[in-house]
């Protein structure tokens, strides 16, 4: 991978992060009017308002405020929450230990379900198994994850009482904490797995018709061997693409699912902050989530180039 290519990509990443921070600042700080008044409500006393304005630096120009906010972000200082009176970075850290494991578990679940299922369907193309798998994925894509979550709660928590219906005991509780994440992770993984199974299937079907697979068959490999040794790896490239694109859906899904299960993660933090009019928290958490998505897309880009050297020449 050429250094120049990597440098260009790195510059693109920095520009994207910069642009995102400007957009978030303009939409959430400049346009809505007086953030101090939004936070305190119209019935607030003038001196309280003035005090909050001074604390938030609203008496200074927008440029200065943006520079301070963005500069703070770079140093890991995300501002201070008005309702919790603690640094936002601390809140984000506390919540990440729930959101990150949740996202990772569901990502693993997605891959564990989708790759074998997609490969299985492709290997038995047009069989009953294939048709059944395609039908199930069609249904999986159509089910909203938060509704699926509610149905899981109805079955596993309310009817059978196997798993908790919501809440999170904290990682100190050990296995109970892991149990609390099972249903949310399954709910998040379902639509992702359904999409990825379809991608895996069609991608594998395409590679199976390539010349090198035919050559492999001609030299005596069985269909299954050719699939395992030659087609599978190549079929993963489009899967990786879609996985990268799906990542923003995974993050959005986490935000919604955390609210279904009352999990104290970043998503729940955003909504608590919205209800409490704590704009500093909302703005910074939105920035964290967007930065996360942009960075993952960047990593996927690099990963492509590693897997497929043909792509390095482009842009």
């Amino acid at each position: 991978m050429s250094l120049l290519w990597l440098a260009r990509r790195g510059l693109g990443l920095c520009l994207a992060l910069l642009a995102a921070s400007v957009i978030i600042f303009v939409l959430m700080d400049l346009l809505p009017g007086d953030p101090a008044e939004i936070m305190l409500g119209t019935s607030a006393r003038p001196d309280t308002l003035a005090a909050l304005r001074a604390e938030m630096g609203l008496d200074r120009s927008a440029w200065v405020r943006y520079a301070e906010w963005a500069g703070g972000l770079l140093r890991g200082d995300f501002g201070k929450s008005q309702t919790y009176a603690v640094p936002v970075a601390e809140l984000v850290g506390e919540r990440l230990v729930v959101t990150l494991p949740l996202a990772l578990i569901s990502l693993c679940l997605t891959l564990i379900i989708a790759l074998p299922l997609g490969a299985w369907a492709a290997a038995r193309r047009n069989s009953t198994t294939d048709t059944a798998i395609v039908a199930i994925t069609q249904l999986g894509v159509a089910i909203p994850n938060f509704w699926f979550a509610m149905m899981l709660v109805l079955l596993f928590a309310i009817s059978w009482r196997w798993l908790p219906s919501g809440g999170f005991p904290g990682w100190d509780a050990g296995p109970r904490a892991a149990l609390a994440l099972i249903l949310p992770a399954i709910a998040l993984a379902l639509p992702q797995a359904a999409i990825l199974t379809r991608v895996m299937r069609s991608s594998l079907l395409e590679t199976l018709s390539e010349d090198y697979v035919r050559t492999a068959r001609a030299k005596g490999l069985t269909r299954g061997e050719a699939l395992r040794r030659h087609a599978f790896r190549n079929a993963l490239i489009p899967v990786l693409t879609i996985l990268g694109l799906q990542f923003s859906f995974l993050i959005a899904g986490t935000v919604v699912i955390e609210n279904v299960f009352s999990l104290p993660g970043l998503g729940r933090l955003i909504f608590q902050a919205i209800n409490q009019r704590d704009l500093v928290v909302v703005r910074s958490v939105v920035m964290v989530l967007i930065a996360f998505i942009i960075t993952v897309n960047f990593v996927v880009d690099i990963a492509y180039a590693l897997v497929d050297p043909r792509l390095r020449g482009r842009g």
Binding site: A142, P144, L245
Partner: protein, 282 residues
């Protein structure tokens, strides 16, 4: 120009197209009917009749405020489709010209336009809805804009890719030689030829829009009470799941039915409109 031979019987022999269009037609019909009127006022509360099971007066029962669940579900279809259609229109209105422009111009502008569209793609509708909430307040408009903005890069990319592959086709080269301007070529020759792809993408984005609208209304960023919506109904139903799972089942199944129908329709259209893709998909 497109050389697909079309016949109605061929259309309806395609299983997913037939099933998908029938399901979608059902939902659209219900949504239109609900605009004229629902069996009962979907916002009318009647506490005396609360939490009733299905009966002759209330086919799908009533919720905790005694509202008629059937009427709410019907009115929800109207809201859901309206938001989703508007968001797709928004995506097409901005995305298609952007993609066409990038494909026709080429060079640095092309690169910049597509980078911007990649960038917008990093903003899921949910995050956009959170950001726009401070300006527009929560509501159907907020949901429509958030989903619509997400649709822009999707349509830009599809248009760009398809339009780029048309650049070397004989009829485009001929049009260029005959002295037609780039805009004329784009509108007269490229657009009609990529229309099938755009229609398929519109169907997919419609179904994604339904899902996104439901999620946004569920968490309180979309349609606001008392306006009925499937997402709101699910939010209301959540605390009552142990007592009345029916309240969660009805709107959920409405969403699944609608999205499934649109997806099947999209799959069918893709096979029928673009034989090239069909062969590739096996």
């Amino acid at each position: 120009m497109t050389a697909h031979s079309f016949s109605v019987s061929r259309l309806f022999h395609h299983r997913s197209f037939a099933l998908g269009s029938a399901m979608t037609a059902c939902v659209i019909l219900v949504a239109l009917m609900a605009m004229i009127g629902t069996p009962q006022d979907p916002t009318a509360m009647d506490i005396a009749q609360k939490m009733q099971g299905p009966s002759e007066a209330h086919w799908l029962g009533t919720d905790r405020y005694g509202r008629d669940v059937l009427s709410m579900a019907m009115a929800g279809a109207t809201v859901s489709l309206a938001v989703s259609f508007a968001a797709v229109a928004f995506g097409i209105a901005f995305g298609v010209p952007l993609g066409l422009f990038a494909a026709m111009r080429g060079g640095a502008l092309d690169e910049a336009a597509m980078r911007i569209s990649d960038f917008i793609f990093a903003f899921p509708a949910l995050i956009t809805a959170i950001m726009l909430r401070e300006i527009f307040g929560p509501g159907a408009l907020n949901a429509m804009l958030a989903i619509g903005i997400f649709n822009v890069p999707v349509f830009a990319r599809v248009t760009y890719g398809a339009a780029l592959s048309m650049q070397t086709r004989d009829f485009v080269v001929a049009a260029r030689l005959s002295g037609k301007g780039e805009t004329r070529i784009a509108v007269d020759h490229i657009l009609p030829n990529i229309l099938p792809l755009l229609i398929v993408q519109a169907t997919i984005q419609l179904s994604l829009g339904i899902l996104a609208e439901a999620a946004l209304s569920y968490i309180g960023l979309g349609v606001q009470p008392p306006a009925p919506s499937w997402g709101r109904m699910l939010n209301d139903a959540q605390t009552l799941m142990a007592v009345a799972p029916r309240l969660a089942l009805v709107p959920g199944l409405c969403i699944v039915f609608t999205v499934l129908g649109l997806n099947l329709l999209g799959d069918g259209l893709r096979d029928l409109l673009d034989p090239r893709l069909k062969r590739r998909r096996g």
